[in-house]
Amino acid sequence: MKSIEELMAIKEKMQSKVSLRNSDAGELRVVVGMATCGIAAGARPVLNAFVEGVNEAGLSDKVMVTQTGCIGICQYEPVVEVYEEGKDKITYVKMTADKAKEVIERHLKGGKPIAEYTIGAATK
């Protein structure tokens, strides 16, 4: 290694790989329901889409993606909840990997929840 630039390149390449270990990270927490019903309804691709998308969007310092058990609304699975400090929880229902990408773009990055994917819209 001849320069700081090379050192920096390794750091950047690696940072996304270790940032997961900072459990304090994130003003935003994305929680994917991963109980039997969620998994059956396709929660795994949704979870993976969030993990990858958040990282690609460079949001891994800000957003923590995690999973939880049954949220209790099995007919709406896959369910994803977004927690933000000082704000009401947003619950997205019937999620897909594509919708996840949109949520990352518009909500996590852009700061605007997507109303039509939320539970409020689904129960109307």
Partner: protein
């Protein structure tokens, strides 16, 4: 892209409680479930709660599993990794947690961790110590880069002085000052040495740093080399630390491959390389001059100072020698600045200190606290208190060179000066907690036995004086002590302190002096009343049968291995004190609680 990182402790404690088998089981299970792309298994260094091992931490939540068994692994994978439900029964339950506290305590929220401030241990239990890239991801090697590109040797020394870093190996000598002496020495060759001998019984701070974050030590030694003008470094580590040695070897090789050790480091004309020397584990070899003598290939005996190593050290050349933990602080001081470091701690003692917490305490393990934290905070909050409802009696810091801190001084803020004032010392960081069942005379005897064994024999006060002191303690604990013995102990102690050649002898009397200072009444009880108040000294104990409680069942007389108990059935039995060997078998057998210790 991994969505879960499962960190398994690969420190010495967890390795011996079976963490390797956990890792194997986990690898197998993850493969079977087809999760290889989603779950990453990382082997780390010590998390600090070794008595609860094997320990596993699952991120991103930071779920903290303790005492994991291979049989538990399928459940963790199925329930937690697949379905997102942490396995409650394996989650560490916080000591003293109230009902509102989360059960699935994430590591950083436990009482054990909350009051800690991890500087020297910051990467331990976070990164894989066998992967240099993970160290770099945590800003590793950016300090040496900064030093080489932006700082002169004097800048480094000024920074360390402004930070107020003092040696963590025991003496507390200002590190910047030590480096400036070595820099000022003129020579064609200089050396940088790392003291990883860690001979204090019960201490394992340095081992954990080496096992958990070896690159931090290599980086700091390289900074030291640049600062004093040395191109060669030696790490002296005891052979009893095989995991630490292996990780150091791997780290050195990786650093060489990356050109972070060797010639022309980071494209500059600075060269530096590091070698390892294994020590055979003699306590005296932790003393700096004995250590250097040992690296040179000779019997590890101290030599007189001056000349100090900074002037005439390894192979007669100017040398700096620092402790592992001292080094582990340095890269961060360079990166975050002297002010950051100096903002932690007390007036005279800056930064943090790692302690190995042991003895009669709920959470044994490794803790790093800001200087100035009180003993009470360490014992009651971080350590979770003294178990089994017993009372805290005293704590020993500094191991065989240190002294005890009695319960009355539990609110003393811990720093170099305060510990010195109350007759103890910081030492390298062993912190032994004792409850009411500890006999302080016996404790002093224990440490003195250690120094008698470990004395190298080069000088008379230590070789003979400590033996004489030990003889007096034996006399006292066997009930033959006289009051003059206490004066004799003190007189001998003071002579040894002032005339021994090296620190081993000079500090050997400390445990006796400090217990005499705070627990003189216990010595007097042994001498005048022929009693050991804590019922530890066997020769002063007597087993007696309470005739009112004894039903004459004869169970005790059958249990006694030496036939010391006799009597008639249904009448109170009796113990013959001349035959009794005080093994306690009778007391353990009696159903009526009729046997007392006096």
């Amino acid at each position: 892209m991994f969505r879960i990182h499962a960190l398994i402790c690969g420190g010495t404690g967890c390795t011996s409680s079976g963490s390797v088998r956990i890792r194997e089981a986990l690898e197998k299970e993850i493969k079977e479930k087809g999760l290889e792309e989603e779950v990453k298994i990382v082997q780390t260094g010590c998390f600090g709660l070794c008595s609860l091992g094997p320990i596993m931490i699952v991120y991103p939540e930071g779920t903290f599993y303790s005492m994991v068994k291979p049989e538990d692994v399928p459940e963790i994978v199925e329930e937690h990794f697949l379905k997102g439900r942490p396995v409650e029964r394996l989650v560490y339950h916080d000591t003293g947690a109230d009902e509102t506290a989360q059960h699935a305590a994430s590591l950083s929220e436990t009482n054990f961790y909350k009051k800690q401030k991890r500087v020297a241990l910051r990467n331990c239990g976070v990164i894989n110590p066998e992967n240099i890239d993970e160290y770099i991801a945590m800003d590793g090697y950016f300090a040496i880069a900064k030093v080489l590109k932006e700082m002169t040797p004097d800048d480094v020394i000024d920074t360390l002085n402004a930070a107020g870093l003092r040696g963590r190996g025991g003496g507390g000598f200002p590190t910047g000052k030590k480096w400036s002496f070595a820099k000022a020495s003129v020579s064609d060759k200089k050396y940088v040495v790392c003291n990883a001998d860690e001979g204090d019984p019960g201490a394992f701070m340095d081992r954990s740093v080496l096992e958990g974050d070896p690159h931090a030590v290599l980086e700091a030694m390289t900074i030291a080399g640049y600062t004093i003008g040395a191109d060669e470094g030696w790490i002296y580590v005891r052979a009893e630390y095989p995991i630490a040695v292996k990780r150091l070897q791997i780290a050195i090789e990786q650093a060489r491959e990356y050109g972070l050790l060797g010639k022309n480091i980071l494209g500059t004309d600075f060269n530096f390389d590091i070698h390892i020397r294994l020590g055979a584990g003699a306590f005296v070899c932790g003393e700096e001059t004995a250590l250097l003598t040992s690296i040179e290939g000779n019997r590890g005996e101290p030599r007189p100072r001056p000349p100090f190593p900074a002037v005439k050290g390894l192979f007669g050349k100017p040398t700096i020698i620092n402790n592992v933990e001292t080094y582990a602080n340095i890269p961060q001081i360079i990166l975050k600045g002297a002010d950051w470091f100096a903002s932690m701690g007390t007036e005279t003692s800056k930064g943090t200190k790692v302690f190995a917490l042991g003895g009669k305490i709920t959470n044994t393990g490794l803790v790093e606290i800001p200087m100035g934290t009180t003993l009470r905070e360490i014992i009651e909050e971080i350590g979770g208190g003294v178990p089994n409802g017993k009372k805290f009696k005293a704590a020993q810091t500094g191991g065989p060179s240190g002294g005890c801190i009695p319960a009355s001084l539990i609110d003393t803020p811990i720093d170099y000066e305060n510990l010195g004032k109350i007759g103890s010392m910081m030492g390298s960081g062993g912190l032994l907690v004792m409850d009411e069942d500890t006999c302080m005379v016996d404790l002093a005897k224990f440490f003195l036995e250690f120094t008698v064994d470990e004395s190298c024999g080069k000088c008379t006060p230590c070789r003979i004086g400590t033996v004489r002191m030990l003889e007096i303690l034996e006399k006292i604990t066997s009930g033959n002590g006289e009051m003059e013995d206490l004066d004799k102990l003190e007189e001998l102690a003071n002579h040894i302190k002032s005339s021994a050649l090296c620190g081993l002898g000079q500090t050997a009397p400390n445990p006796v002096l400090s217990t005499l200072r705070y627990f003189r009444d216990e010595y007097i009880a042994h001498i005048k009343d022929k009693k050991c108040p804590a019922h530890v000294c066997k020769k002063l104990m007597q087993y007696v049968i309470d005739p009112d409680k004894c039903r004459g069942c004869s169970a005790c007389s059958r249990a006694c291995p030496v036939g010391a108990i006799s009597g008639e059935i249904k009448k109170p039995f009796k113990i013959d004190p001349s035959k009794c060997i005080k093994c306690g078998a009778c007391k353990a057998t009696c159903k009526f609680n009729a046997i007392d210790i006096q």
